[in-house]
Structures are given as structure tokens and as C-alpha cells.
């Protein structure tokens, strides 16, 4: 069955430091992959998406993610975090034949140390 795993429940990073949030997917073919961010009490906002082509994807707010087929991973990165990046981050995927049925990981909560 299709699944998305985010192994880190909570990460704390100092402001200005680099960030990498991990995501692994389980699906036979190459899925569509997404990263969403959720601020407290809010809905989810799309940061970036990967469908095909270049494996390094640029998103909003300075985020990027790299698709690695050999590792079934789609890790999210940011070179320098800001206090406003503190939020919950969700990796998600949809199977090739399951249009718009997007499956989410359990999320990683990001805290920023001043």
C-alpha cells in the first residue's frame, strides 16, 4: 500500500542554520510528491511539488526538495531558517493512478531556537 514516512517527529534548529526534513515514500512507480506547511490553527499551504524531470525542485519561502529514486526519498531543505518557519511540515504523495488522492505523512514539527 502507498505510504509516506516522516521519521522525525520534532526538530529544533537555530535561526540562520540550515534545515533538512526527511521524507520517504513507498510506491512502486514514481509518485507525485509534495511538501505542505501548516501553521497552528491553519490549513495546509503547498510549499513545492515534484511531478517529473529535474529532481531538485524549488518552492516558495526559499525551500527546495530533492527527489532520490534510489532512496525513495524526497527531503525538504532550506539553507537558512527564519523564526517564521516554525510550523508543522507534511510530506505527501499521490499514486500515478490515484489522481488527487493525496496521502500524507505524520508530519515533522519544526521549532526555531533564537
Amino acid at each position: 500500500a502507498q505510504s509516506v514516512t516522516q521519521p522525525d517527529i520534532h526538530i529544533t534548529v537555530s535561526e540562520g542554520a540550515s534545515l533538512e526534513l526527511r521524507c520517504n515514500y513507498s510506491y512502486g512507480a514514481t509518485p507525485y510528491l509534495f511538501w505542505y506547511v501548516q501553521s497552528p490553527g491553519q490549513g495546509l499551504q503547498l510549499l513545492l511539488k515534484y511531478f517529473s524531470g529535474d529532481t531538485l525542485v524549488q518552492g516558495i519561502k526559499g525551500f527546495e526538495a530533492e527527489f532520490k529514486r534510489s532512496q525513495s526519498s524526497f527531503n525538504l531543505r532550506k539553507p537558512s531558517v527564519h523564526w517564521s518557519d516554525a510550523a508543522e511540515y507534511f510530506c505527501a504523495s499521490t499514486g500515478y493512478s490515484s489522481a488527487s488522492k493525496i496521502i500524507f505523512g505524520s508530519g515533522t514539527r519544526l521549532s526555531i531556537r533564537p
Binding site: V4, G43, T94, A99, S100, F104
Partner: protein
């Protein structure tokens, strides 16, 4: 450009009652998906509506039902509420379902508390 709007924002119900949550999709979108997000968890797919029909369904009991109207807006109904139904219910709209992988645009959710 109006995004996805959900109502109400908060709701308190008693066990055994029924509840209806409402969603208006983003302008130009024709597909609505509903998700349940329990505290500290990722969103869980409930079902998806397109052309006024339920197209896909997640692992939720029949107590969860929905409807889509000709203007693409949607309702989520939950009957015989249980304490475990307490969660944030998120509505998301997209283009599709023919648009494979069409990103979801989320509303801010309805916080349902069952006492």
C-alpha cells in the same frame, strides 16, 4: 481570488449527534476532498467528490457521508458522533480528477469537538 472557505470554524457536539460541515472550493476548482486531522497527526483522506459523485474513499465508516452541489461546494456529514471523531476537518479543492497529481488547496478547517 477567493481560496477554499470552510464553515463553521469551530463546533462542539455531543456523542450520538449528527454534524454537517461545509466547504466552498477555490475559484476554478471542481474537485473537493475531505480530510480528518487528529491532534498531532497528518491529515487522513476521507473521500473526494467530483461531478457531484463520490469518486474515492478512504478507510472511514459509513457514518461519514458527503455531498457535492452543482456549484462545486461540498458538505461533510457525520452521524452518530463518537468521541474519537474530535478532530480538525480539512477541505481541499483541486482540478481533476483527470489532472493527475493536481495540488490540493486547503481551507483553514473546522475544529470539531465531541463531548
Amino acid at each position: 481570488d477567493a481560496g477554499v472557505t470552510q464553515s463553521p470554524t469551530h463546533l462542539i457536539k455531543t456523542r450520538g449527534q449528527q454534524v454537517t460541515l461545509r466547504c466552498s472550493p477555490k475559484s476554478g476548482h471542481d474537485t473537493v476532498s475531505w480530510y480528518q486531522q487528529a491532534l498531532g497527526q497528518g491529515p487522513q483522506f476521507i473521500f473526494q467528490y467530483y461531478e457531484e459523485e463520490e469518486r474515492q474513499r478512504g478507510n472511514f465508516p459509513d457514518r461519514f457521508s458527503g455531498h457535492q452541489f452543482p456549484n462545486y461546494s461540498s458538505e461533510l456529514n457525520v452521524n452518530a458522533l463518537l468521541l474519537g471523531d474530535s478532530a480538525l476537518y480539512l477541505c481541499a479543492s483541486s482540478l481533476g480528477p483527470g489532472q493527475d497529481g493536481s495540488p490540493l488547496h486547503f481551507g483553514n478547517g473546522t475544529r470539531l469537538t465531541v463531548t
